[in-house]
Assembly symmetry: C2
Homo-oligomer: 341 residues x 2
């Protein structure tokens, strides 16, 4: 057993985009599990945009990480020592371990994984929290019907790729938006979206309008910013907008100047009878079973693809996370903290 | 039978607030009903904010009124001649007659009224389209639970008064906002709201915060503008906003300059998991029976009040409508076009 626990702590609250100095690595002896707890060695660490919110102390749906505390994250790991029923040394588990090489959690907060059923890392992506988010947002709020048009910002990302593929399975026309030609090619050629637009090319609004000749029935809001600006005028009557993320705004330090479009949006909401609904995955815990059954089935049937962007070494998590907020990742961003023993 | 049909036509499209010159009265011989149709003499004409939308040719949920056509409206009237099954001379009916002294409609587009069950005029207010709108918006979208806080803009108006009283019956704390001390007194003393704030007094935001110590769970959006601005920061997690009207914006000719709060609203929607949903009453036609049964019952039990603001004479409809958009009415605004024979 490694005797040292490496951790990445929040060193200070970022102003705007996080920089490496906002994080600090430390080492301490590996903690021991109390009765009912489990010591886990981290194998995979998930990096997700929501973590930016935890770095700020603005009111949000979860408490802010305190200065000097480890950054929070979902992790996949291997049980080193178990004092909890149902878990034994060598088991693989997923849980909220944080940016740490080892973590201790109550057994009840860990979910055991079957390494034969799917690659372990998928428990953090396509079969984990991002996949569950996409599944719940698209199905419970979006309620896709065959023939409808669905637009997905951040289409090659962990949530967008899942949402779009489910929408395709439900018979929708799916138009993605992604950053760069390579990602767009992946979205259409691999994920099977009907079209994908590069948000870095000019006139996104005009190209999107052309790609959605029948308007937009569901907009899966993952980005905010210029993508949202391009989609909103195209919404059809009774369109639904699951608001899952607004990554373009996470690093914003001031509100945008210019025309105040809030009254316009409310007016559009009335006239078009839009449904705009925010969600986080824990609101839809009751759908977890259905989600894992459906998506695992689609993967087995070869109807569903996923892509992982793997960074090696816990010490590289801050840089990878900074890149995530800039859209530098390509697929679900993971840190490989250690290899299976 | 009167031989002359008086009509108020849309003379031109208003720019900003409508003025009397945007309307034109004309006279023509009373039309004759064809097979299946009914000729009705208008007794009561309903004036409602949504009519402002019909005067413009911007895309909306209904077609614009064409220049030279009668303004549209719900009317209560008395059957003069019936060529439709189930309706006879002397019957009282409600239907979309328009701003006219007489109108002809297919029998199937009229609903027969029982003059013994309730005053005829209530079929245009508390037991009509505004009441139905309030009932559906509050119950289907707002989903009030006992102990929650509900804020209602335009609280003394036709929709707001009904929504607030239903919320009280459902056990909510109900805070209204109205224009002027007299309306506010009516809202608390007669309608039984827990509080009512005068939107014309300073620091609406501060006073509203004080009146909603536990935040706001449901905001019935009828106004837009400064009332909305005051409510939005107070919304609780999982708050619901039925968007029913945005009267403050109906006469707007340009968007507001300043900070663009659209990204902020989307971020709030995510963080607080808000539900913002637009509605018009025809989306909830399936609730009409429940609505009339419940509200008529509450009125009979003395648990429910309503107030009408009656203007005499079809020729005074334009001026009354202009006043409605400025909040000059006090209660459901009706034009008495003729008296029962």
């Amino acid at each position: 057993m490694t005797q040292t626990q490496r951790r990445i702590l929040l060193a200070r609250r970022p102003e705007g985009a996080p920089v490496p100095e906002d994080f600090r690595m430390d080492e301490q002896p590996v903690p021991a599990p109390a009765e009912g707890e489990v010591l886990v060695r981290t194998l995979w660490l998930s990096l997700d945009p929501y973590m930016r919110g935890r770095m700020s102390d603005a009111a949000s749906y979860a408490k802010a990480t305190r200065i000097g505390e480890p950054m929070t994250a979902e992790c996949v790991g291997e049980v080193v020592e178990s004092r909890a029923e149902g878990l034994a040394k060598g088991d693989f588990v997923v849980g909220r371990g944080g940016w740490q090489s080892h973590f201790v959690l109550p057994g009840k907060d860990l979910r055991k994984l079957d390494p034969e059923a799917a690659p372990l890392s998928t428990a953090l992506g396509v079969l984990g929290m991002p996949g569950h988010t996409a599944y719940a947002g698209l199905l419970a709020i979006g309620q896709p019907k065959a023939g409808e048009t669905v637009v997905i910002g951040a289409a090659s990302g962990a949530v967008g790729a899942v949402a779009g593929q489910i929408a395709k399975i439900k018979g929708c026309r799916v138009v993605g938006i992604a950053g760069g030609a390579e990602k767009c090619r992946y979205v259409t050629d691999e994920l099977g979206f009907d079209a994908c637009l590069d948000r870095k090319e000019p006139d996104l609004a005009g190209r999107l309008k052309e790609a959605c000749p029948d308007g937009v029935d569901i907009y899966v809001e993952l980005t905010g910013g210029p993508v949202t600006d391009a989609v909103l005028p195209l919404l059809n009557f009774f369109a639904r907008i699951p608001v899952i993320g607004t990554i373009a705004s996470y690093n914003a330090t001031a509100a945008a100047e210019g025309t105040d479009r809030l009254p316009w949006l409310l007016r559009q909401t009335l006239v078009k009878r839009l449904t705009i609904k925010g969600m986080i995955v824990t609101d839809y815990a009751h759908m977890a079973g259905d989600f894992r059954r459906d998506v695992a089935g689609w993967i087995r049937e070869g109807r569903f693809k996923y892509r992982e962007d793997v960074v090696d070494g816990l010490e590289n998590a801050p840089e990878a996370f900074i890149g995530l907020l800039e859209g530098r990742n390509f697929g679900k961003l993971l840190v490989r903290v250690a290899r299976e023993s």
